[in-house]
């Protein structure tokens, strides 16, 4: 494996994340670092094998903003479903499709997973650039909401969104 800069930074970044996760799991017990070193190395090796560094960049500020947006939307989504559960007759469920502008790979995976957790949408299948969604209420402005999530993800991953 060549150690150019992006690989080295991916290695350092993932290593730090796994170390922090281990510290949390072991609740900071000093005696656990022996097992921890083995676990962290194992996790690092597995992550490098399964998801080799691909030069993905990440904006920390945009990531925080996405996190805040995600939290608020989770509350809206959960409340919407909770209200609908009390009065299921008000649902207007159905299938819909949107054309997405994020590139293949990680951005699309993140988009589909995020939409599953946000108000009123479950992603079903991707056909080319067309994403099929199940929505709880077809009167929702689905295209606009998907576009907002796409913009957040594009800013976080420092990529361009084609429209």
């Amino acid at each position: 494996m060549k150690f150019d800069r992006s690989r080295l930074s991916a290695l350092l970044f993932r290593g730090s994340v796994f170390t922090i996760v281990w510290w949390i799991l072991a609740e900071g017990h000093p005696a656990s670092w022996g097992v921890g070193a083995v676990s962290i190395s194992g996790a690092l090796a597995a992550s490098l094998l399964l998801a080799p560094p691909s030069g993905t960049r990440f904006s920390f500020i945009a990531g925080l903003r996405f996190g805040a947006f995600f939290l608020l939307e989770s509350i809206r989504g959960g409340s919407q479903v909770a209200l609908a559960a009390l009065a299921p007759g008000r649902l207007r469920p159905g299938l819909t499709s949107v054309v997405i502008g994020l590139p293949d790979g990680l951005p699309r995976v993140l988009l589909m997973n995020t939409l599953n957790l946000l108000p009123g949408t479950v992603s079903i299948q991707l056909e080319g650039d067309t994403l099929w969604l199940h929505v709880l209420d077809r009167r929702q402005a689905i295209e606009r909401e998907v576009a907002i999530v796409e913009t957040h993800l594009a800013r976080m991953l420092l990529i361009e969104r084609s429209t």
């Binding site: 996760v21 510290w23 949390i24 799991l25 072991a26 609740e27 900071g28 989770s74 509350i75 989504g77 959960g78 409340s79 919407q80 479903v81 909770a82 609908a84 559960a85 009390l86 299921p88 649902l91 207007r92 469920p93 159905g94 299938l95 589909m112 997973n113 995020t114 599953n116 957790l117 108000p119 009123g120 479950v122 992603s123 079903i124 299948q125 099929w132 199940h134 709880l136």
Partner: protein, 100 residues
Amino acid sequence: MTMLEWTSAALLVAGGAFFLAGTLGLLRFPDVYSRLHALTKADNLGLGFILAGLALQADSVAAALKFVLIWPLVLAASAAVSHAIARRARQNGIRPIQRP
């Protein structure tokens, strides 16, 4: 009870309410796709409230962070599983119920 304990209790009760609503949705929504909404959204929010409530009662920072760490891990699993179920349901020709 201290302020912290009241906040924690309120969060736990809110979490329980969302789990109840999610289960109600699972029983009352018309088809598999709609039921996925109930499971992914209401239950995830309920879990978030319960974890926040428990984190407030934790003995150490690391123990509190452990509760916080559970949330993104469960969210990732739940998002991926609901997508897998929805895709398979569509491949098997299950049509979503569509009301006018």
